[in-house]
Every structure is written in structure tokens, then in C-alpha cells.
Subunit: 221 residues, 2 copies
DNA sequence: CGAAACCTTAAGGAACCCTGAAGGGGCGGC
DNA sequence: GCCGCCCCTTCAGGGTTCCTTAAGGTTTCG
């Protein structure tokens, strides 16, 4: 669920990027050619890195097709300094844009930033009864009173809010909310959930889905 | 009132920078050659980006001339790693210094940072209980009594006042309030915050946002 | 009822932050 | 130039907040 899809035809550059990404702990799938992506394919994909200069299907076509039925973040690579492509790409829904040449480290950093915030990017506000969750400002208030949440608690809540009403697996939370490098224990997650529940009060908005994970109750109040 | 003047003779680099700036929402005027600027010219200019390596009038001359009768922020570009130019430029009144090659994003960030500060210095006053912060005059008074703040302390407070109520990251403060070239330690920032707090008295207007940075408390009193 | 999954509390330890004191550079006065 | 002052920075110690681990209890399911 935390796979990065790289679409890049240049063998040397692609290999380098894959190495860097894997060294940084990401799972990578590398397509040497551009082709349209089916809905079935990107179920497990957390982020797409797309080179615009591809033989065959044009990069922008892929982007457009992707955006038609998915919210997956897309990071666009391009050799053109020209800003027309960039404006076009961003308008078509790209989340970030990197021009070649770039430092691999820079790319990695951007990928990391995207994935960290993947959860909160698109759903800025969620209201549940007296509970207000603001993903953009990273603020949570209950009956208007601001809550003091730690970073992990905040990410956890945002992850659940993003999939409001649907269960989020413990596995996903472990690798995406907790430090992905640390490979933390399941118990750690328990503790964070516990503390978050306590801070959120009796309303018990966070339900346990036995054997799966957790879910934020949509049916309000 | 938010025009950026770019003085840069290199066609490729200049075009790229203009693209980036415009993509970031700035209005740009691009001069390919260095010439002295009249008072009438920079009435609408919010910031100048000046390449030091110019044919014709030397970059430093322009800078000196500019400073003689204007306060407009100047951001200097230069290919020389050499620090003599840098020292000279900063002493002549440059507000920032970027050595080539640079990432366009970096430049944009610095421009944005400068303009934020510029704008804020004009949007004059912020009042917080007995505390009065005047950005234009760079004066801070508490219950009518003027405080003696050093340059760094003042910039720090103004930066926080500008984002009143929202946290400002340590990272941003480090590169924009402290000398951007010095790559100062985090501890340095601690010290400045500490002293500023002491001067501001018990009211503890400056809150620390753990793992993020600092925030000026908006909730009055 | 037993095993597996989950909850809670408490206690380390790591990351982060505060502050007093000392070091060093720039600038004006002599 | 030499000295002193002010300011910025660094150092060192101790403090706080947060994340994780450990351990024992509770719930769920077959």
C-alpha cells in the first residue's frame, strides 16, 4: 500500500532513482514505457512519478487519464525548463513538478513529503458532531476548543478522517503514520490509538474493526 | 505594487527565473542589461533581483546607486563562490545573496520570504493586549514603554507577528531571520527566543509548538 | 474455554527545547 | 591602532515533551 510507481524510459536515470527510492525504504515498481493505467492497477499505489518525455503514449495523456478516476498523488519529471508544460501539468492535477537535472536526494525528499502528507492533502476539513478536523492547518477542535495533539496522534486521526467511514488497516497505519524507518511494534499503535481516544473524549469516534484496523464513525453523534 | 525587477543578462537563466516567478504568481519586469535606476522607476517595485556579473554598468554600482535613495529589498545573484563579493554586496545593502548554480525553487522561496517581510513592514501595527508591534517603524512597546530590541530579536518578533496565530517553523526562522549564509545552529535560535521572551515579560506571548517552531498567541490579554 | 487480538497504564529513553555563561567579531571613541 | 561595548553565536547542563516498550488486563472469535 506504500508502493511508488515510476514511469521513466531512460535506463540510467530510472535505475538511479529506483536505487535511491529503495534505499530510502520505499517499494518501487518501474515501468519503462508509458501506458494507460487501469483502476485495478493503482489500488496499491501511493504515489506516481511520471516522466513527461516518453515514447509512445504522451506523459500528459497518462496524467489526464490517471486523474479521471484516481486521487493518487503524481510527481512529474520533465527536462523542459519551459513553464508551459509545468502549468499544464499542474492544471491537470500533478501535485509536484521537478525539472531535470535534479539531485536524487531532492526527489526523494519530495516523495517522502508527499507520502507523509498524502493523507491530509486532499480532505481539508471533516466535521463529526462537535468534532472538527482541519487537515490543512493540522488543527482539531471539539466544541470549538482546540485540542493539543502530538504529531503521531494528528497523523493518525488525519489518516482515519481521510478514509472516513471506511476501515484503515493496522498495517497501513504502522508503515505510514509511524516512522516508516523504525518498523515499530503493533503495540505502539495501540498506545497511540488509546491516547487519541482519551483526548477525543467519550464520544468514541474511533471504532475498532476487529482483525483489520480502525475506522472513524461517520454516522454522526 | 508587487512587481519584481530582474536584472540578468543571461537569456536562458533569465527566462527560467521569469517563468518560475510568474508561476509563483509574481509580476516580473526583466532587464537584460544593467543600467542605473531612477527614483521614478522603482516606485512600483517591491523587490530587485540583481545579477552581479553584468556587461556595462557593474552590478555593485547599480546596487550602490539603488541604496542611495531607496529601501527596496535587493537579492543578489552571483557565480562567484568567493566571499569578497558577498561581503561587499551585503555591506552595500543587499538583503540576500544566492550563488549560482541554484535551484529555481530556492530563489522563489527567498523572494517570497523577502516580499512577505516587505509587505509586513508596511502593514503597520499589531496589538496584543498591552503589547504594540509596529512593523513599519520597527518599534515595540509594552504598555506604552518602548522596548530595546536587537536586530535579530526584532526580525524574529516581526516574523511571528506577520503570521499571527499560526506557527512559524524553526527552519524558516533559521534561514530568514538569522543570517541565511551562516547556517546557524538551532541553539542560536533558542537563545534569541529566550532573550526575546525575557524582554517581553511574563505575558509569554510566544508559544513553542513542539517539533515545529513558534507561534504568537492571538488569544488576547 | 483457550488463543489471538486488542486496551490501558506505567516507566524508560530519545528528541527537543530552555537558559545562563562564555567566546568572538564589528564598530565607534580615544 | 587599541580598547570597550554591544550584539550574535556557541557551549554545557538541565528541563520538558514525546515515542516506544513492557506487562498485565479485557474483549472477540472459534
Amino acid at each position: 500500500m506504500s508502493v511508488v510507481l515510476l514511469i521513466e524510459d531512460d535506463e540510467a536515470l530510472g535505475g538511479q532513482v529506483v536505487d535511491q527510492l529503495e534505499a530510502a525504504g520505499f517499494e518501487v515498481v518501474w515501468w519503462r514505457t508509458g501506458r494507460l493505467i487501469d483502476a485495478a492497477d493503482y489500488r496499491d499505489i501511493a504515489l506516481v512519478i511520471l516522466d513527461l518525455m516518453l515514447p509512445g503514449v504522451a506523459g500528459l495523456e497518462i496524467l489526464k487519464h490517471l486523474r479521471r478516476d484516481s486521487e493518487v498523488p503524481v510527481l512529474v519529471l520533465s527536462a523542459r525548463q519551459d513553464s508551459r508544460d509545468k502549468v499544464l501539468a499542474l492544471r491537470l492535477g500533478a501535485d509536484d513538478y521537478v525539472t531535470k537535472p535534479f539531485w536524487p536526494e531532492e526527489l526523494i525528499e519530495r516523495v517522502r513529503a508527499r507520502l507523509r502528507r498524502f493523507v491530509m492533502e486532499r480532505s481539508s476539513q471533516v466535521r463529526l458532531g462537535g468534532l472538527l478536523i482541519d487537515g490543512a492547518k493540522r488543527e482539531v477542535s471539539i466544541e470549538g476548543v482546540c485540542l493539543e495533539l502530538t504529531r503521531v496522534e494528528m497523523d493518525l486521526l488525519l489518516a482515519l478522517a481521510h478514509r472516513l467511514g471506511d476501515p484503515v488497516s493496522r498495517r497501513w497505519l504502522l508503515t505510514n503514520v509511524l516512522d516508516p524507518e523504525k518498523e515499530a511494534t503493533e503495540r505502539t499503535l495501540d498506545v497511540h490509538v488509546s491516547r487519541l481516544r482519551k483526548k477525543l473524549g467519550d464520544g468514541s469516534v474511533i471504532e475498532t474493526v476487529w482483525g483489520i484496523g480502525y475506522r472513524l464513525r461517520k454516522g454522526a453523534e
